[in-house]
């Protein structure tokens, strides 16, 4: 059956001035002063505009925002368990499709966005996220990555970097580096296993125009899309709260984070530094790394070097596009 679901087309913005002025994530919430994920939420909501429904799996962006029966979301929002953001979103998307088919709903198809933390997307929420993507729901799944379970008081997650001090990876005599494992590579996990997904991108709160346009592009695709968004956490990373954007900028400048789009099988990188700064420059302002010894930092640098090599390889030779994806 051919049905016009009235999917939205969001044009890219050329400057800050051209971005939706209205706040869709309004002031009046209990997030930390200088909260990276809150800034990220605000930018995403602004980019998406009013015809949007957010699904908020448990995490800081639920607990610190939707506190005590008042919320900062000017658009419709629903809490999901930390486990099931992708599944609840699937149900909402399916409902709007059926209701549109049955002519019980005739408005624009909502932008359906899951705003999940790293735990709610690639740890306990992974199954629901992956299944939503496999089933080809028109949902934008966002992993706002603050690299820990911050809401419960900073515990390690699969995206917490090697060497970080969290309350579940405290450095000690026996385990001097704190966290010994290396993080999951989140976008690759999505790209590698979900043929229905045509668009994946990474963003940082220090690059708001780039972020805005990636959100708008992702929402214009009529398929599942994914954004991995770096959102530095002053509490969990233990840096001065005025440095939130600085940390995101340094992450890109050191290769700890790279900004790219993956569109139909082709990688396109943004803000690639000509020469990468040493990782130590990124780590020195963060209390979570203050216990590390030079050999640990070297180990981290080697890990980051490998990521940088990946960037170079991806830029040089685009990954071939299987016909099913074009």
């Amino acid at each position: 059956m051919n049905v016009d679901y009235k999917f939205q087309k969001l044009e890219p913005a050329k400057s800050f001035k051209a971005i939706n002025r209205a706040e869709m994530y309004v002031p009046g919430h209990r997030t930390c002063a200088g909260c990276g994920p809150a800034l990220n939420y605000r930018l995403v909501a602004k980019a998406a505009g009013p015809d949007t429904i957010f699904i908020g799996p448990t995490g800081c962006m639920y607990v610190a925002n939707a506190s005590y029966l008042c919320t900062p979301y000017a658009v419709s929002w629903i809490h999901a368990q930390i486990t099931n953001g992708g599944a609840v979103a699937s149900g909402i998307e399916a409902a709007f499709k059926t209701l549109a088919r049955k002519k019980k709903y005739d408005g624009p198809f909502p932008n359906i966005i899951v705003m999940a933390g790293d735990g709610g997307s690639v740890d306990i929420g992974l199954q629901a996220m992956s299944a939503m993507m496999y089933r080809n729901h028109k949902v934008l799944f966002i992993c706002y990555d603050n690299e820990s379970y911050a809401n419960t008081g900073i515990q390690t997650s699969p995206t917490t970097p090697y060497g970080a001090n969290t309350t579940f990876t405290p450095p000690g005599k026996e385990i001097p580096e704190g966290k010994v494992l290396f993080p999951k590579y989140v976008p690759q996990m999505v790209i590698g296993g979900h043929p229905a997904v045509k668009y994946v991108a990474t963003t940082s709160v220090a690059h708001p125009l780039d972020l805005t346009n990636k959100v708008r592009k992702a929402l214009t695709y009529e398929c599942p899309t994914f954004l991995h968004m770096l959102a530095p956490c002053p509490k969990g990373w233990k840096f001065d709260e005025k440095l939130t954007r600085e940390m995101a900028k340094l992450a890109v400048e050191t290769g700890m984070w790279s900004l790219f789009e993956w569109e139909n099988g082709v990688y396109k990188y943004q803000n690639v530094p000509k020469t990468y700064k040493p990782i130590a420059e990124y780590m020195k302002n963060q209390g979570r790394f203050s216990h590390l010894k030079p050999e640990h930092i070297a180990k981290m640098q080697a890990f980051v070097d490998e990521r940088i090599a990946n960037v170079k390889a991806n830029t040089a030779i685009p990954i071939p596009t299987p016909s099913s994806r074009s």
Binding site: L69, A87, G91, A94, A95, R135
Partner: protein
């Protein structure tokens, strides 16, 4: 016009969902409920049901998907069996807390360990207390009918609660029986379209499920509890309408079979009631005044109806079909509820319980006869000598 068909319980549940014109269905395979989803999948594929059919990645996802669908204003349907029911446990309370009246069809199956396909009611019984309405059918006809009644009750604006419509795995889910399938126009007369309470919307934005403080938790609990005071009234209304429109004869809460003058009686839920009725007849022929009562709804529990229907019997045997290890009666889940329901009577029956129909075992007529003997002996002894009897394993 209603049509008579031979349908298994699974097919009957699917027919019920089709007649309810469900809009979002979420599946995941697990025996023995699977065929409910097989049937719905065929209907969607053949254009006989205009619904989104979503392949959930597990039962937790199934319940989550229908939660989202109901929040967006669609009538949603899912189902499961056994460990699938318990895997989804996290989402049951948010479902009733958010007042999303989805329906979940359960074909009962034993919980592991290790895998046993047989019917046992422990799966759905484990979800008591999560704010869902729970009912058991005893025939494919009743399965179809309960699907419609449960939606009508759950979606009533005085209620707005999710429902589990349960049937015994295999005994009902896999054995066909005559079912009168009603006409859609009759169903539309009985079941109005679903109207969600403040659904997710673009024109009237809302926040569903913000965090609350401890002092807001208690009133939320109290409000959900208060709703259950109203549910019986709504069940009565819905059953009366259903009986009128479809020419049925359901008691809203409790099927009473020859209980009026009974000396001994069984209380039993689900399919085994069919065997039990026959045994009651046989006992009557032998001169034993036997009877049987069968709760159609376990939540809300029909406290008064049980006291009224069974208060006068001399010995009451609760046939448990679920386990509650280490519980007050070292048996199942029903007997403590039955005893509590009878407690306030001046004179009350002697009550014991029989652990039977576990792991999917058949309850044989001989076993019911054996239970009847135990009950008769209790009357002679003027006491129950045991809280529970593990039928077939008695010491």
């Amino acid at each position: 016009m209603a049509q008579e068909k031979m349908l298994t319980g699974c097919a009957a549940a699917a027919r019920g969902a089709q007649l309810a014109e469900v809009e979002v269905v979420c599946s995941y395979p697990i025996r023995p409920y699977t065929a409910i989803m097989m049937e719905l999948a065929k209907m969607v594929a053949n254009g006989e049901l205009n619904a989104e059919f979503i392949h959930g990645e597990g039962e937790h996802a199934q319940v989550s998907v229908v939660l989202g669908a109901a929040a967006a204003g669609a009538r949603a349907f899912t189902g499961s069996s056994g460990v699938g029911v318990t895997y989804a446990m996290e989402v049951y309370s948010p479902m009733s807390g958010g007042r999303y009246p989805v329906q979940m069809a359960i074909a009962d199956r034993s919980l592991d360990p290790p895998g046993d396909f047989g019917s046992e009611h422990t799966d759905a019984m484990s979800t008591r207390g999560q704010g869902w309405i729970l009912g058991w059918a005893s025939s494919p006809q009743e399965i179809l009918d309960n699907t419609l009644i449960a939606y009508r009750v759950g979606e009533d604006k005085r209620v707005m609660l999710p429902q589990m419509t349960c049937q015994d795995g295999y005994f009902l889910s896999h054995i066909a029986d005559k079912v009168s399938v009603p006409d859609i126009s009759q169903v539309r007369e009985f079941l109005p379209p679903f109207k969600a309470h403040n659904p997710l919307s673009l024109t009237c934005p809302v926040s569903h499920g913000p965090q609350i403080r401890p002092d807001q938790g208690a009133p939320m609990d109290a409000q959900r509890a208060a709703t259950f005071f109203d549910v019986p009234k709504v069940i009565e209304e819905a059953t009366a309408d259903f009986n009128r429109i479809f020419k049925r004869n359901y008691d809203p809460f409790l099927e009473k079979y020859k209980t009026e003058d009974a000396d001994i009686a069984f209380l039993i839920q689900g399919a085994h009631a069919n065997t039990c009725r026959k045994v009651v007849d046989a006992l009557r022929k032998q001169g034993v005044k036997a009877g049987m009562a069968r709760p159609r709804w376990i939540i809300p529990w029909p406290t008064h109806q049980i006291a009224e229907a069974l208060g006068h019997v001399k010995a009451l045997g609760v046939v448990e079909t679920s386990t509650c290890y280490g519980g007050s009666m070292r048996g199942g889940n029903l007997a403590p509820e039955v005893r509590a329901s009878l407690y306030d009577l001046d004179e009350r029956p002697l009550v014991t319980s029989f652990m039977a129909g576990l792991g999917g075992e058949t309850i044989w007529p001989e076993e019911f006869h054996h239970m009847a003997k135990v009950l008769t002996q209790m009357i002679k002894d003027k006491r129950a000598s045991q809280y529970s009897y593990w039928v077939g394993f008695e010491g």
